[in-house]
């Protein structure tokens, strides 16, 4: 394997990890606020179909990204109305959102099947893109990849370095205590849920605008579930989440390269790996309460009934 090929492989890994980073960082914030939204897959599909539709209608991929984010926000809004407003079960509603999203997008996207577009263009950053190796790897990407590099540190900074982030975490850890302090629990959870929706929508937009610029039914093929697994794998920490997304991306790409080289890797095992890793992390968490569990939001998945 020569240097050029390593670079090309690394570029493919970035492409594979980017949608996971967006979807998982959104879900991480949602879960930190104490809400478990299993509808990531559905919201990603919503983002994917709307962004491709807008690209098709306007010819502008940037409108597509916006459209994807708004589609995600819209679907997350439905989830919020049901779970935060009407106190429906978060698990059931999230699952329903995924099933609903899969069907709805298939219906809406009918006329977009068989349409080809060139998709999101690369946007090299002046000067930096001329750097050897790093320039091509990091600074000759499209705007969504740059965004994925920035969003994780930003979210980490927000959660752990700002008072708003502290409030959000307190809502997720003990909604009763937060409520007693006069914090509007439902409003914080609503905002977090909508942010998660926007991120999942952008993740979907990346799939249909940049990864494979097309719309075909159910094109996320389970990436929403991997993002959900990633959040647990990362024990709700943004940095580890980013690491995990790149690790999962690298494993899936390297096994394809390995096969083309003639190295036998059982691909079934590779597709199981993200979930196996997550189960292992879950086992470790449950054993080591003190250390790892302190990052897990304590009220996750529980409905909050505001009492006066």
């Amino acid at each position: 394997m020569n240097a050029e090929m390593l670079l090309l492989t690394a570029l493919t890994i970035i492409t594979a990890a980017t949608p996971l980073v967006y979807a998982a960082i959104g879900e991480l914030v949602v879960e930190k606020s104490g809400v478990l939204n299993l509808g990531v897959e559905g919201m990603m599909l919503g983002g994917a179909v709307s962004s491709f539709a807008l690209l098709h209608l306007t010819g502008n991929a940037y409108f597509g990204i916006l459209g994807g984010a708004f589609a995600g926000i819209f679907l997350a809004g439905i989830f919020a109305v049901l779970t935060l407003g009407l106190q429906a079960s978060q698990v059931a509603t999230g699952l329903a959102l995924t099933i609903f999203g899969t069907g709805l997008t298939a219906l809406l996207g009918k006329s977009l099947v068989g349409v080809g577009h060139s998709g999101l263009q690369k946007l090299p950053i002046p000067f930096l893109s001329d750097l050897p190796v790093l320039g091509r790897l990091l600074f000759q990407q499209d705007v969504l990849v740059y965004g994925s590099f920035l969003i994780v540190p930003l979210v980490a900074w927000f959660l752990y370095r700002t008072s708003a982030g502290l409030t959000l975490r307190s809502v997720g850890d003990s909604h009763d205590a937060a409520h007693a302090l006069g914090i509007n629990v439902l409003r914080w959870r609503l905002l977090a849920t909508l942010f998660g929706g926007a991120c999942a929508g952008v993740a979907g937009a990346y799939l249909s605008l940049a990864y494979t610029p097309m719309w075909v039914e159910n094109m996320t093929a389970g990436r929403g579930w991997i993002a959900l697994a990633l959040v647990v794998f990362a024990t709700w920490r943004p940095g580890r989440m980013m690491f995990g997304a790149y690790l999962f991306g690298a494993i899936s790409i390297l096994q394809l390269h390995g096969q083309a080289w003639g190295i036998r890797v059982p691909s079934q095992l590779m597709s199981m790996l993200p979930y196996l890793a997550t189960i292992m992390v879950l086992v470790v968490i449950s054993r080591d309460r003190g250390k790892i569990r302190k990052h897990a939001p304590q009220s996750i998945g529980k409905s909050f009934y505001p009492t006066t």
């Binding site: 099947v113 494979t212 075909v216 093929a221 790409i253 096969q259 083309a260």
Partner: protein
């Protein structure tokens, strides 16, 4: 609580009577019900899409005498059995199960519903009420393998494969045999993606193959993503199951197009007039089940001529894609000149021939 129970009871009674009434209505003018089970979404623009075109051909042909339904994206395995039972209990008379992995579920459910007729695509298990059918897609592969052998400059053909089942292995081998006849230096690199349908992973596999020197991409998966990657990277490829020109106007050299419509109409007609019996159908280019799109803009005339020649030779029976001499990966002759691998052996093919890189996953 008691009130609720009463309400539930009333609800159940009214539902039951409604169901009964609708059953009676159904019995009055009973359209012939044909069900389809698809492995991917209808809009995959590939394998499943072509089956659905076949289903629509039935509707076109018989009008309101036939009612068709389909269930899409049904996982191969336990879920398939549940879906099949549901279709059979819903009063379907004829059910097409359109993926290899539905084989055992089809046989099992057919056993419990002897009055329902089943048609399983690409499998090899039959019963009194289960027929099998498939296209000799390897004939199409021989044609595009010829083209690939002539057009590759790097002598590396990238092949994205789904699952190591005989159907897929046969396609790889047919390609390799045809390619090697033209170009003894060319090799096929195979990447198994372990799915029929995942545009992202299919695209990743195409990128990996192109990064490793492939200048022609072939696929035995269902989405147009690999071809789109080929177009973007400036290499060429072949459409799979349907014409995928829209995704690669420059890059698609040719596409093998499945045409199930005539078979579906014939079998529906037979099931309706009572002449249906269990059989195995394996049709190729000659019967029109395996068709082709148009040549892409970058195909030179001599390649078109050579491809047409192979196609004609297969149709008139002068050439069989698995006609000796055929060599295994070590170069040993496994089929002597003039001999042909028989259908039974083709259906169980589980080895690579010369020209394919790597070893077959077991």
């Amino acid at each position: 609580m008691i009130k609720n129970r009463k309400l539930l009871f009333q609800l159940a009674v009214s539902l039951l009577s409604f169901a009964g009434a609708s059953l009676l209505v159904n019995a009055a003018d009973d359209p012939f019900k044909v069900g389809f089970v698809y492995v991917g979404p209808v809009d995959d623009h590939g394998w499943t899409y072509r089956h659905d075109v076949g289903r629509l051909a039935i509707e076109e042909e018989f009008g309101d005498k036939v009612e068709t339904t389909f269930v899409e994206s049904v996982a191969e395995g336990a879920d398939a059995e549940r879906v099949l039972r549901k279709l059979a209990t819903d009063g379907h008379d004829l059910i097409f199960t359109t993926s290899f992995g539905y084989m055992n579920a089809t046989i099992k459910v057919a056993n419990s519903f002897p009055d329902v007729k089943f048609e399983h695509a690409t499998g090899f298990k039959r019963a009194d009420n289960v027929s099998t059918y498939s296209g000799r897609f390897y004939e199409g592969r021989a044609v595009i393998g010829t083209m690939a052998g002539m057009m590759t400059k790097t002598n590396v053909i990238g092949y994205i494969a789904s699952f190591p089942i005989p159907e897929v292995v046969r396609g790889i081998n047919a390609t390799a045999i045809a390619m090697r006849k033209i170009n003894p230096d060319a090799e096929i690199k195979v990447v198994w993606v372990n799915t029929w349908y995942d545009p992202g992973t299919e695209a990743d596999a195409a990128k990996a193959l192109i990064d490793q020197g492939a200048d022609i991409i072939m696929q035995h998966t269902d989405s147009p993503a690999p071809l789109q990657v080929a177009e973007e990277r400036g290499v060429v490829g072949f459409g799979q199951a349907s014409d995928m020109k829209a995704y690669a106007p420059q890059g698609q050299l040719q596409a093998i197009v499945d045409d199930w419509g005539p078979y579906y109409i014939e079998r529906t007609k037979a099931a309706m007039d009572g002449s249906w019996e269990s059989k195995d159908t394996w049709s190729g280019i000659l019967d029109g089940m395996v068709q082709f799109a148009d040549y892409g803009p970058s195909v030179p005339d001599d390649v078109k001529d050579a491809a047409n020649l192979v196609r004609e030779a297969i149709v008139i029976g002068e050439l069989h894609p698995f006609q000796g001499p055929i060599f295994d990966q070590s170069g040993k002759e496994i089929v002597a000149e003039g001999e042909i691998i028989e259908d039974g052996d083709l259906l169980g093919m589980n080895y690579y021939v010369q020209g394919v890189n790597g070893s077959l996953p077991k």
